[in-house]
């Protein structure tokens, strides 16, 4: 199954929704860095989840959202990778 979203699309959404911290380099390999390190808090992720739903039609329930620690975890959920196959 083709991926709904890749890291570039997520990066674009993060910046559009919640801006960008000058001290963080989002262009590097950020897949496995924590959202906390990337300076995105829970509100920023809620805002991004709303945008993902609008753009891609994928709904991320709030209780799933709070458990997502990294961009990879979020992309896996959006792209429908079964929980067992996900890296956390």
């Amino acid at each position: 199954m083709a991926a709904v979203m890749d890291i570039d699309a997520l990066r674009e959404i993060l910046v559009a929704c919640a801006g960008e911290d000058e001290a963080v380099n989002l262009d590097g390999d950020v897949l496995d860095r924590s959202f906390e390190e990337l300076a995105y808090d829970s509100l920023a992720l809620i805002e991004c989840a709303a945008r993902i739903k609008q753009l891609h039609g994928v709904e991320i329930p709030d209780d799933a959202l709070v458990d997502l620690r990294t961009p990879r975890a979020l992309l896996d959920l959006v792209n429908g990778v079964p929980a067992a196959g996900r890296q956390s």
Partner: protein, 406 residues
């Protein structure tokens, strides 16, 4: 020196960003009032505003703050940074719980909210920014400043229309007296989106005079309302001992007195509360009216309210008993920002021995009995100042400032 002193301050106003830029314009009588152009206001009965035109938020705020802040909060965050830098206060100057924040906002985040409400009715609730949850809110400036500068001491937000900025200074002083070493206090406002503008016009006191130099004339016989402005000021209010211990590089003055009162209900035969606020602030400072060197007036810019203020001042000081000024004729009325900006001007009057004039006003009715400083700044030794502000629907506040050597 004892008590609570002012060790730093800054301003964002239509006539200048930062204290010195602002003060140069005040002394030069350079006005910041012009046609409101933040949206198409041509269909509205009032079209003049005091707009800040040279503020680039991205220069002052991190990219993470831009999507979550109203224009008023952006001003507040920039001014906070400048005021703390002026006082040489950084995150390690004092313990985080020894630093508090008290900021007044009368209007909240109108511009931000207008855009989100537009999304609400045109696209649906899921399109409304999650940041609307706090970006609209009166306390957001206090919160954002507290977070950004790690000032974890007592925080508060006060709302009392144009009087609220002085109330914030009074509460900052109270907070210092209760044991917090340093409090950043003041007020900032902005509401120049279509909704905010409509709300201001609905108040019924905005001038419709079609000449920017004649639209807002505090105490003039031709006064016909005010021009709304945006911006404000924040002051670093500090315990005098703490300021001395940390070697604060300057003390601009002391917050010697403060009081607020509320007007009786409309139609009452009891007098308006402004004079009582001034009297109580003087008593709080332990000063007599004769000790005051200048009054920075509220200057509402309408015959009814100007007369009430003139009567209060005449009653307190005697006819022509004290120099009075209202430099806000250059900026428009900045709601919660207005009082704190007047405090900054009063402190600079003390520093420079110069009382700024009330630009644009020319003809003060004789029976006001006011020594209004007109045409140009007046050279005068200023060792104390009374600053007044009134908020719509009955708020009156007064602050007495004294020179560091008073």
């Amino acid at each position: 020196m004892t008590g609570t002193v002012i060790t730093g301050m800054s301003v964002a106003a239509p006539i200048g960003l930062g204290t010195e830029d602002f003060w140069r314009s005040v002394v030069a009588g350079r006005a910041g009032i012009g046609p409101l152009d933040r949206f198409d206001a041509s269909g509205y009965p009032a079209r003049f505003a005091g707009q800040i035109r040279d503020f680039d938020a991205a220069e002052h705020l991190s990219g993470r703050l831009l999507p979550q802040t109203d224009v008023s909060t952006r001003y507040a965050l920039a001014v906070a940074e400048w005021a703390l830098a002026d006082a040489e206060v950084g995150p390690d100057t004092l313990a985080d719980y020894d630093m508090g924040v008290v900021v007044s906002s009368a209007q909240g985040g109108f511009d931000f909210t207008h855009r989100e409400f537009h999304k609400l009715w045109s696209q649906g609730p899921e399109y409304v920014s999650v940041y609307e949850s706090f970006a609209w809110f009166y306390a957001v400036n206090t919160g954002q400043i507290s977070i950004r500068h790690k000032m974890r001491g007592p925080g508060a937000a006060l709302v009392a229309e144009q009087a609220g900025g002085l109330d914030a200074i009074g509460h900052a002083r109270r907070t210092v007296r209760l044991g917090t070493k340093l409090v950043l206090g003041g007020g900032v406002d902005s509401a120049f989106d279509p909704w905010g503008w409509a709300a201001q016009l609905a108040g019924g006191r905005v001038s419709t005079v079609a000449d920017p130099a004649r639209a807002y004339l505090p105490f003039d016989r031709d006064a016909a309302g005010h021009v709304p402005g945006e911006g404000g000021a924040l002051l670093v209010i500090e315990d005098a001992d703490s300021a001395r211990e940390r070697g604060a590089r300057q003390v601009y003055g002391s917050v010697a007195g403060y009081a607020s009162t509320f007007d009786p209900k409309p139609g009452s035969d009891r007098p308006a509360g402004l004079r009582r606020a001034a009297e109580l602030a003087l008593a709080d400072a332990g000063l007599a009216a004769s000790d005051i060197d200048v009054v920075f007036a509220d200057g509402a810019g309408g015959a009814d309210l100007d007369r009430v203020e003139a009567e209060a001042l005449r009653g307190l000081f005697g006819a022509y008993g004290v120099p009075v000024t209202a430099p806000k004729s250059l900026t428009g009325r900045m709601a919660a920002g207005g009082g704190p900006v007047d405090l900054v001007a009063a402190l600079l009057s003390m520093r420079d021995g110069l009382v700024p004039h009330t630009a644009h006003t020319r003809h003060v009715p004789e029976d006001y009995g006011l020594d209004l400083v007109l045409d140009e700044p007046r050279v005068a030794q200023v060792r104390s100042a009374l600053v007044l502000a009134r908020g719509r629907r009955g708020f009156n506040s007064a602050v007495v400032l004294t020179h560091p050597d008073f």
